[in-house]
Each structure stands twice: as C-alpha cells, then as structure tokens.
C-alpha cells in the first residue's frame, strides 16, 4: 500500500466522488482559485471547473444554507468550512435546517450534504479559532458525525459521507493534514463504513477510547504504558454518530478499565456520553471509574506553553491510565 498524507487522502476522495457523480460539487472559502486554505482542494478547480468548485464570499451561514437547499433538490454538496470554528456562524443552518428537513416535511425532502473541514484546536490559534465542535453536533438528532484519525479513514469516511443520503459532518484535523499513513492504491475503492470503530492496538489491561487528534497520543501512550507493564487497547471511534457501541463494550468487557482521550472540552463532551453508555450497558464490568483526558476548562490561550497545558497529550493519557490501572 502507498503511504500518503491525510491531506492527499481527502483530496483523492473529493476527486473520486466528483468523477463518479456529476451532482457532487465543492463549495467554500478559497476552495477554488486558492486551492484551499489548507490545500485540500489542490487541483480541483483545474479538473472540474468553476461550475463544480466554487469560491464563496465569507458567509458561512449563506453557503451552508445554499448547500442545504441544493441538497433538497438532489445535488450533493460538499461544504468546506475553512475551520469548524467558523461553522459557529452557520450553526442554525447545520442544526436547524439540515437535520430537521426530513422530519418537518414528513419524509419528502432528504438532505444529502457533507460539511467538512478541520475541527478542534490546532496550534496557537487562540480562543476564537480552536473550537472542538463535535459534542455540539453529535447532540443533534439527524446529523451524522465522523472524525478520521488516519489517512485511510480520511479518504474512506469522506467517500462514504458523500454517498450517504443524510447530512454528515466530517470533522478533520489541521494537525493531521500532513501526517502520512497507508492507503490502498488508486483504483481500489476505499469506503470506510460509519459506525465501525478501529482497534489500532490490542491490549488486555485498559481500553483507551480516542478519535481524531488523540489517536496518535493514545498510541504513544500505549507504548510508554507497555514499558511500565500496562497493556492498553487503543480504540479509535472514527465515527461518533453512529457510535460503534458493540466494539466499545466488547473491549471494555475484556479490559474492565477505560480512559477516554478527547480533544473536546470536558463538560458534556464526547467522553461524558461514552461514560454514560458504558456504565449503562456493562456497569458490572467496570473495575474502576471511567477516566477522561480532555481539554482543561478554559478559553484557549495563545501562549504556547499554556496551550500545551490545556490540551490532551500522551503524557496525560499515561497518567490517567495509571490512575485507573494500579501497577
């Protein structure tokens, strides 16, 4: 298999799906002539022309809503947010229009739309630009939320999202764009199904639940832990909604201990929900409370050291595991 960047993987998914289906188009700020703020859409304008690769004004609510409308009449828009921190100004379109249309119309209108872009803290972008939005969107009935951590998942989840007839948010990660990973050769269709977690590392002592940015941290933590005699299973959720509860419960039933590592803020975060579901279904399997590594509960500071103190890290995961797994 090739090793390509997460960035290229997303780019390939866009190209393949646009080639497959003329109803698919890409819209967002700087996606066309500039080739994308993070160069995700490199070459797409040239390949597909300005009809299908469309630069927008700075008007997230406007173009998100345009996408919802276009989807209602059968096109399949991919709406890029330069970052999901900017999706906050389009919140109503994402939360009130996209997922409600099917219900409100009594099933007449589907909204096959994809909202995608980098989500969560990157590096020193400050309080306004570092939002982890996954828990807000995952709360909303009618939205699917997937969060690729690897290049292959970045490609395969996006392709699945584009084909799904429901609104899907693909929350990528700026810090992962340049990371590399194995992806099937061109010509092989890469479709990663929703609702299937990936076990990146098997282990018997503790389950580390992670996704997106925290997967690499969890893998590093698992190495460190191994040296200390703790054998961690690392489970990458990939899809937040639908959630692969089976895989999670199976793993925890084996390890009896859980640490959730998330880039999210703590209060009502993804880990809160995971904890609830785990204890609901397999209360008796838990030998220790579910532990979490999250952001600290403060607006993100610009200063590098302070930012680092706010974010999850491999070290923090190690410490959290050691607290629930006495060695």
């Amino acid at each position: 298999m090739r090793e390509i960047t997460y960035r290229q993987a997303v780019n390939e998914a866009l190209i393949e799906e646009m080639e497959r289906d003329p109803n698919v188009f890409l819209m967002g700020e700087e996606v066309a002539e500039y080739n994308g703020a993070y160069k995700i859409s490199q070459g797409l304008l040239e390949k597909f022309g300005p009809k299908r690769v469309i630069d927008t004004p700075i008007a997230e609510a406007g173009f998100a809503g345009l996408g919802v409308g276009a989807a209602m009449v059968g096109l399949r828009p991919i709406i890029e947010f330069m970052t999901f921190s900017f999706s906050l100004v389009a919140f109503d379109q994402i939360v009130n229009n996209a997922p409600n249309m099917l219900t409100m119309s009594g099933g007449q209108f589907t909204v096959p739309i994809v909202f995608r872009g980098p989500n969560g803290p990157a590096h020193q972008l400050g309080a306004t630009h570092s939002h982890a939005t996954e828990c807000w969107y995952a709360n909303v009935p009618g939205l699917k939320v997937v969060m690729p951590a690897t290049a292959r998942d970045a490609k395969g989840l996006l392709k699945t999202a584009i084909r799904d007839d429901n609104p899907v948010l693909v929350l990528e990660s700026e810090l992962l764009y340049s990371t590399k990973g194995p992806v099937d050769d061109l010509g092989t269709e890469v479709l990663v199904p929703f609702g299937k977690a990936a076990i990146h590392r098997e282990g018997s002592d503790v389950t580390i639940l992670c996704y997106a940015q925290t997967v690499r941290m969890a893998m590093a933590a698992a190495e460190t832990l191994q040296a200390k005699g703790v054998n961690a299973e690392v489970l990458d959720l990939r899809s937040i909604k639908p959630l692969d509860l089976d895989t999670i419960l199976n793993s925890v039933s084996k390890t009896h201990r859980v640490v959730v590592a998330e880039q999210n803020r703590p209060f009502c975060g993804i880990g809160s929900e995971l904890c609830f579901q785990i204890q609901k279904y397999i209360f008796d399997e838990l030998d220790a409370p579910v532990a979490r590594v999250t952001q600290e509960e403060v607006p993100m500071p610009y200063n590098e050291a302070l930012e680092e103190a706010v974010l999850p890290s491999a070290d923090k995961i190690v410490r959290a595991v050691l607290e629930v797994c006495p060695v």
Binding site: T56, G65, V68, G69, V73, Q93, N97, P99, M104, R163
Partner: protein
C-alpha cells in the same frame, strides 16, 4: 395570453384567494376550540393577492419557498385544503404527515419547498434551489417570500449577496405588511422604503401593490421572464396588510382600528371581484357560487382532518435518517 385564458386565470386567482381566506377562517375556528390545532398558527388573511398574483406569474415547477405564514402559499400551489387542514391537526394525511405543523408545510410534488420558521434562514435555501437550477441548466425560477421583519437578519444579507454574485435565478419577495409582530417596519430598519434594500447589492428592485392581484401578477411577470432567460436575482417589495394578529395569540394592540379598516376597504378579494364584475366577466351569482365552493372545500377539510388517522407512534423513529445511499436502498 389569449383574452379568454386571461379571464380564466383571473377567475382562478379569485377562487384561490377565496379558498385561502375560507380555509384560514375555518382554521382559526378550529384553533380557538383549543384541542385540535397546537403550536403557533399565523394567518395570511388580507395578503392573499400576493401569493395568488405571483403564482399566476410563474410556472408550476418554479420553486416556491416562504416563512411560517405559509398556508396561502401551499394552497395557491395546489396543495389540497384537506392535507393543509390535516397538517394543522397533526394528522398522518397532512402535507407534512403531521410532523411539520402550521409553520412547516411542504409539498414536494408541487415544488412547494416549505414553510420555514426561523426568520430569514430559508433565504439561503432559496439560493440553493436557484443554484441547482442553474447547475442543471434548467430554466426554473425560485420565488422566495419573506416578511418585512426578515430583511434585517444576517441570512438575508448573505443570501442576497451570493445570489447577486452568482447571478442566481431567484426572486426575493418581501411581503411588506408593515409589521413584524408588534414592530412597525419603521422601528426595525432605517430605510425610507424597503425597496431601497436592494441597492446595497446593486440589485434591480421594484415595488408592487400587494392589495391588487393583477398588479402583483403583472408586476412580476416580466421579472419572472427576465430571470428565466437571464438568471439573476431581483428584489421585490410587495406592500400588503394582514387583518389578523401576528399569530392566534396576538390581540394586535399596536395598530389602530382606523388603519386596519383602511386596509379592509382595500380588500384584495373584493378588489379583483369588482374589477371582474365591472368588466362583465363576473356576476354576483357566479361570485357567490365560487365563495360557496371555497367554503365547502374548507368545511370539508375540517371533516377530513378530524377523521384522518394520527401518525403511528411506531413511525416516530422513521424520519430522523433515511436508510439510503445515493438515493438507493442501503445494501449493508
């Protein structure tokens, strides 16, 4: 258009307006009973000429979208009174299967793209329909209605700006009934005239008298034809008035009886009836028959709604996601 078909069209407009009015009178009665219609309910009475005239200027496959004051728009598009009343009753036979309610009427078959209840947020959707028409080289025009209160919210601005930039075939129609709930338009925007708002987008803009169905049709027809052949947005202010409160719970204390009466004297139904009568194409007898028919349809719709089944409880989970991929049943 041939003279006889003009007459036919105008009689059609008149009976449409009558149906809207009689339907809503029945809806108001049913609402007041307290046990049949829930949530908010906003009546269109007084504004009928706007939708009757504008629908007469368009094709049935042109997209139409509006806000929550949407009963008239669905009825004008041909959605049956039965399914409209059933929707108010929350019945499975409603135009949105009882899941949408008064503010969320949809009729896909008739390109009625919904009543939408969050102010201004349907304007971007309208640009999406227009975008799709252009993308597919279809000559369908989108009509996007909104109230005078909607012109002050951000989504309005983003939609008009993008429509102008991309030259989308969408006509933005402000149904200026002078009030947004209890707030007169002069207290919600700094404009001398709402039509001026189009200037901020260098968008062609016109004002139309919305108490006159013919004026609405004739004012819109050339615009519709221009937009159909040369995609581009228009900004249209149609001046009208609502006779009832903002919603069923509003006593309307913010306006005088004199003002209300002044507009009732300009009643759009009476006006078109008089025009047709003066011209010899309508008799009192014919008018009465039309009105009786409208009343009968409206009354029958109540019965239909009463007798219709509730949506089944088991269906509760059927409308959150569709289980299809690319429009085909999901295989896995």
């Amino acid at each position: 258009m041939h003279k006889s078909s003009v007459v036919e069209q105008e009689l059609g407009m008149l009976s449409q307006m009558l149906l809207i009015r009689r339907f809503e009178e029945r809806a108001a009665q049913q609402y007041q009973r307290g046990d049949r219609i829930g949530g908010f309910c906003h009546l269109y009475i007084g504004q009928e000429a706007v939708v009757a005239g504008s629908v007469a200027a368009t094709r049935p496959d042109d997209y139409l979208i509006t806000a929550y004051r949407d009963h008239g728009h669905a009825l004008a598009r041909g959605t049956s009174a039965d399914s409209c009343m059933a929707e108010l009753f929350g019945k499975a036979t409603g135009c949105s299967k009882g899941l949408g309610g008064s503010m969320h009427y949809f009729d896909k078959e008739r390109s009625m793209m919904g009543g939408h209840a969050i102010i201004g947020q349907h304007l971007p959707l309208a640009t999406g329909f227009a975008f799709a028409s252009k993308y597919r080289n279809e000559d369908r025009v989108t009509l996007c209605y909104m109230g005078d209160g909607a012109i002050n919210i951000g989504a309005f601005h983003e939609a008009l700006n993008m429509a102008g930039l991309y030259k989308l075939p969408v006509i933005f129609i402000c149904e200026n009934n002078f009030f947004s709930m209890g707030t007169h338009a002069h207290r919600s925007n700094p404009l001398k005239e709402i039509v001026n708002r189009g200037k901020g987008y260098d968008m062609p803009s016109v004002v139309i008298d919305g108490m006159d169905a013919r004026a609405v049709r004739d004012g819109l027809r050339p615009i519709v034809e221009t937009v159909r052949t040369t995609p581009q947005p228009y900004w249209v202010e149609i001046r009208t008035y609502r006779y009832r409160g903002h919603s069923m719970s509003d006593p309307g204390l913010y306006r005088t009886k004199e003002e209300l009466d002044k507009y009732k004297d300009l009643d759009p139904i009476a006006k078109l009836a008089k025009q047709l009568t003066d011209e010899g194409t309508l008799t009192q007898e014919k008018y009465d028959a039309m009105d009786t028919e409208a009343k009968d349809i409206a009354t029958a719709s109540v019965k239909f709604a009463e007798e219709s089944p509730e949506p089944p409880l088991e269906a509760l989970y059927d409308y959150t996601f569709v289980n299809t991929v690319n429009g085909q049943p999901a295989t896995a």
